[in-house]
Symmetry: C2
Subunit: 481 residues, 2 copies
C-alpha cells in the first residue's frame, strides 16, 4: 500500500471521464470510504476538462478502502485503499463544539476562536492575496470570515478575477455550469489558511451584490446546486466552517424557509458535520435551530453574550462587534482601544469575538474586505489577550459574578478560587475585595492595553484593599493560593 494520508488531511481521487454534455448536471459521482464497521459516502465533483474528483478527510487512523459510484460506467466501481497515519504537529483536526459553550479541535486541543474578516480577499489577485497571507502569518487570528461570491459595495468597486459560473455579467450566467478554475483558486486560499492554522469561516451567501451579478438572487434550485458543488469540493478541508450568510436579514429574496432549506442542505451533504452558523445584521436568526452549531452574531453589546449563552445553549461568537478604523459608519470607526476592549469584554462574558479593520485607504484596500496589511494597533493586543486566555484552565472559563454591583464587571473563573475580571473603560485606583472568606489570594494586574502582567507582592485576604493603577483597560487575575 503506497498511499499514506495524515489523519484529518485530504485524500483525493482523480478520475478521467467524459467532458461532453454538462457533467455538472448530468453526471453523478461519489465514493464510499470504509474502515471496519465505519462507512462514509462522500460526494464527488466535476473539475472540468474531463476530470472527476472525490475528496475525503479520514477521521480515524488505519487502512481505509473505497469504491466509487456514479451514473457512468467509467466512473463507478473503482476501488482502492490508503493508510491513514498519525497527524503531523500542528494538525489537530477540524474544530467542533466542546463543553457546550466552547470549541476544540478533533484531537481535544482547545480552540479559542479569535477571528478576523477579509470578506473577498480571495478575489483580489495573487499579489494582494499573498500579502494578506504574509500579514496573517504574523497576526493572532485563527479564523477568517470570507465570502465565496464577490462583493460590490462601498470601497469594493473592483470586479473579481474570475467567477463561479460560466458566462459573464454582460451576457448572463449559465447557472448550470460552474467555473472550476474559480473554485480551484478559492480552495488554494483555503489551503493556504490551513497551512497557517487558520479556520476558513466560509460565507455561502451575502447581500453585497447590489444588482451587479445577481449571485444573491439565483433562486433556490441554483442555490442548492451551488451548495452541493461547493460542499463536494471543500468539505474535506479540515479547516472549514460554514456560515450560511452574512447579514442574512438583508437578503430580501430569501425567506426563513429558504434559509432552513440551506441549513439542511449543508448539514445533509457535508459528511464531516463542519460547524454551521448564520450571521445577522439586525435581528438574530433563531439560533435554537438544531442544525446550527453555534451562535454567530453581529452586535456591539458584548455583555449580551451572557444572555445568548442561556438562550441558545451554544458557543457564542460575536463575529462583528464593529471594526477598528475611521469610516463614516459606527460599525467601521472604533478606536484600537475600543476594539481591544470589546475582545476582553466578550471573552470574559464567556463568548468569542471577531476582529476587523476599516481604515480609509488611498487605494480602497481595507482589511475588512480585501485584506492586505493591518494598520491598526488592536491585533497586538488581541494576541496578548489570546495568550492570557490560553493560560486560563478550562474549568475557569465560565462567567462568574465578581462583586455584584450596579453593573457587573465581565469576569470568568470560579467563585472563591479564580477570577479574571476586566474593568474596561473604568479606572479604579483602589479596589476593595469582597471575596470568599477564610482564603488567601494572589493577584496579578494585567494592563490589557500596555500588554503587561504585574504580580502584586504579598498575599491578600478576602477583604483586602488593593491599590490599582487608576487607568482604563485593566484586568485582575485573582487566584486562591
Amino acid at each position: 500500500m503506497n498511499r499514506k494520508v495524515e489523519q484529518w488531511d485530504m485524500f483525493e481521487l482523480s478520475v478521467k471521464g467524459p467532458a461532453e454534455g454538462n457533467p455538472f448536471t448530468d453526471v453523478t459521482f461519489s465514493a464510499t470510504f470504509k474502515q471496519r464497521e465505519r462507512s462514509i459516502e462522500v460526494p464527488g465533483f466535476y473539475d472540468g476538462a474531463g476530470t472527476y474528483k472525490v475528496r475525503f478527510m479520514p477521521g480515524e487512523q488505519g487502512v481505509w478502502t473505497y469504491e466509487t459510484s456514479g451514473n457512468l460506467s467509467e466512473l463507478k466501481g473503482l476501488s482502492g485503499e490508503f493508510e491513514c497515519v498519525a497527524p503531523a504537529e500542528g494538525n489537530h483536526g477540524p474544530v467542533k463544539v466542546s463543553d457546550t459553550y466552547h470549541f476544540a479541535y478533533a484531537d481535544g486541543t482547545p480552540h479559542d476562536s479569535v477571528g478576523t474578516t477579509c470578506y473577498v480577499w480571495t478575489h483580489q489577485g495573487d499579489e494582494l492575496e499573498e500579502l494578506t497571507l504574509r500579514t496573517l502569518k504574523k497576526a493572532p487570528f485563527n479564523k477568517m470570515r470570507m465570502c465565496v461570491f464577490p462583493k460590490h459595495y462601498l470601497y469594493n468597486n473592483n470586479d473579481p478575477l474570475s467567477y463561479p459560473f460560466e458566462g459573464s455579467r454582460e451576457e448572463g450566467w449559465n447557472f448550470t455550469r460552474f467555473n472550476p478554475e474559480f473554485f480551484r483558486h478559492f480552495e488554494k486560499r483555503v489551503d493556504d489558511l490551513r497551512n497557517l492554522g487558520i479556520e476558513a469561516d466560509i460565507i455561502l451567501f451575502h447581500p453585497y451584490d447590489n444588482g451587479r451579478w445577481g449571485f444573491d438572487k439565483m433562486g433556490m434550485e441554483v442555490n442548492i446546486r451551488y451548495l452541493r458543488y461547493l460542499i463536494a469540493r471543500l468539505s474535506a478541508f479540515r479547516n472549514i466552517w460554514w456560515s450560511m450568510a452574512n447579514e442574512y436579514d438583508l437578503m430580501g429574496n430569501m425567506s426563513i424557509d429558504d434559509w432552513d432549506v440551506i441549513i439542511q442542505t449543508v448539514a445533509e451533504y457535508d459528511p464531516y458535520d463542519h460547524l454551521r452558523s448564520i450571521h445577522n445584521c439586525g435581528p438574530f436568526y433563531d439560533h435554537n435551530h438544531s442544525l446550527l452549531t453555534h451562535v454567530s452574531v453581529q452586535n456591539s453589546n458584548l455583555r449580551g453574550i451572557l444572555q445568548w449563552r442561556e438562550q441558545y445553549n451554544k458557543p457564542v461568537v460575536v463575529d462583528e462587534c464593529a471594526y477598528e478604523g475611521n469610516l463614516g459608519y459606527v460599525w467601521g470607526n472604533v478606536t484600537e482601544q475600543e476594539m481591544t476592549r470589546r475582545f476582553w469584554e466578550g471573552f470574559l462574558s464567556g463568548g468569542y469575538v471577531g476582529h476587523g479593520e476599516t481604515y480609509v485607504h488611498p487605494d480602497e484596500i481595507l482589511w475588512w474586505s480585501k485584506g492586505g496589511e493591518l494598520h491598526g494597533q488592536s491585533p497586538d493586543r488581541i494576541a496578548f489577550m489570546k495568550e492570557i486566555m490560553e493560560s486560563v484552565p478550562r474549568e475557569y472559563r465560565e462567567p462568574v459574578t465578581f462583586q455584584p454591583h450596579w453593573e457587573n464587571s465581565p469576569c470568568i473563573g470560579k467563585e472563591g478560587e479564580y477570577y479574571l475580571v476586566y474593568f474596561g473603560i473604568h479606572r479604579p485606583a483602589v479596589k476593595y475585595l469582597e471575596l470568599t472568606k477564610d482564603r488567601k489570594y494572589k493577584i496579578e494586574i494585567i494592563n490589557t492595553w500596555e500588554m503587561t502582567v504585574t504580580p502584586l507582592e504579598g498575599i491578600y485576604d478576602a477583604n483586602s484593599n488593593v491599590e490599582l493603577p487608576g487607568k482604563q483597560y485593566i484586568a485582575l487575575r485573582i487566584q486562591k493560593t
Copy 2:
C-alpha cells in the same frame, strides 16, 4: 405700604407665641394670601424660642394681603399686606415642566438642567461649605442634588454638625421635636444656591444611614410630620425641587404604598407645586405616577432616554449616569472623557444628564458627597456643551434620526433643516451625508473635548462627502442655508 417683595422672592412673617409644651405638634399656624380672586393657604412653622413663621413666594405682581390662622388666639387673625414687585435680573422664578420633555422658569426662560451632586455638602461645616459655594460659582451647574439627612457610608464617616431632631444618636431622638437650627443652616445653603442661580434638588429620604441614626426608618407618622415641617420651611424658596428619595429601592423599610403617600404629601402641602421626582438604584419607580413631574433616574445607558420619553411623556433627567473619578466601583470611576460623552449622548437623546465627581482624596473629601473643590476635567466640557445647547433654538431640541444605520448616532434637530449629531467614541475621518435632497447645508465641526467649533468652508449638498477629523468626541451641526 412699606413692604416690597420681588416676584418669586420670599415674604416672611414672624410672630411671637408660646415656647412651652411642644409647639411642633400642639400648635397649628398658617396664613392665607390673597390677591384679587386668588387665595393661597400657606403652612407656617415653629422656628424655636417662641417664634412662629410663615413664608410665602408670590407668583404675581401687585398687592397681596394676608391673614393668619391657628389654634392659638395670639397667632390667628393677624393680617397685613405687601407689594409684590417685578423680579430683579437673574430671578426667573421657579422651574416648571415645559413642552412635555423640557424645563423652563416661570418667566418662560428655558432651563437646561445641568446638575451635579454633593449629597451632604451642607453637613460639612462652614469652611468646606463655603469652598463648595466658591467652586460652584465658577462651575456650569444649575442644579444641586443634596440630602436633608446626613450620610453614613463609604468615604462618609464624619458626623454632621447638627441634627434635624432633638436628642442624640447615643440617647435617642425625640422625633416629635425638630431642631430649628439644623433647618436654618440648611435653608441658608439653599439660599446661597439661589443666589448662584442653582436649583436645590432636595433629597427627602435616602438609604445611606446604615444603622447609624435611624433617619431611614422613622416610620410613616414621623416621615409625614418631617415632610410637613420641611415643606412649610422650604417651599417658599423658588429654587426648590423635591426628590422623594435617592435610590428609593434600597430603602427596605419603605413600601411602594409608603412612597405613594410621600409623593401625595409633598404634592398636597407644597403650595407652589415645585417639581417632584423619585430616584432609583436599580428598577425605576413608575414614573407614570400623575404627581411625579419628571423622570429622575440612575442609568448608564443614555440612549434609554429615547424610550423613557415615550414611556413616561415627561422630561427625563439621568441624574446619575456614573461619576468622573477613580473609585473601586463602576459608578464612581469613569474618565473625564466618558463623563463628557454621557452628557452629549443624553442631551442629544432629548434628555438631561447630571454630573458627579469621585476622585480618591487623602481626607476623603469627594465632591459627590461633601463638595469642596472639583478636580476633574469634565466640568469645563459640560460648560461648553451647555453653551452649545443654549444656542439651539427650542424647535430643534427634539431627537431626530440622522442617517439610520446599525446604531444611530444621538441627534437632535429637525429633518432637512437642522441636525446636531454626536459621534461619541466613534471617529469618522469622512462622512457621507444623506440628507433631504434639493437643499443646501452649512456645517460646523464641534470638538466636544477640545471645545472648538470649526465652520467648514463652503456649502454642502444633501449627498456630500465631508472630511472629518478622525477623532473621538466630535459633533456636527448641520443647518439648512
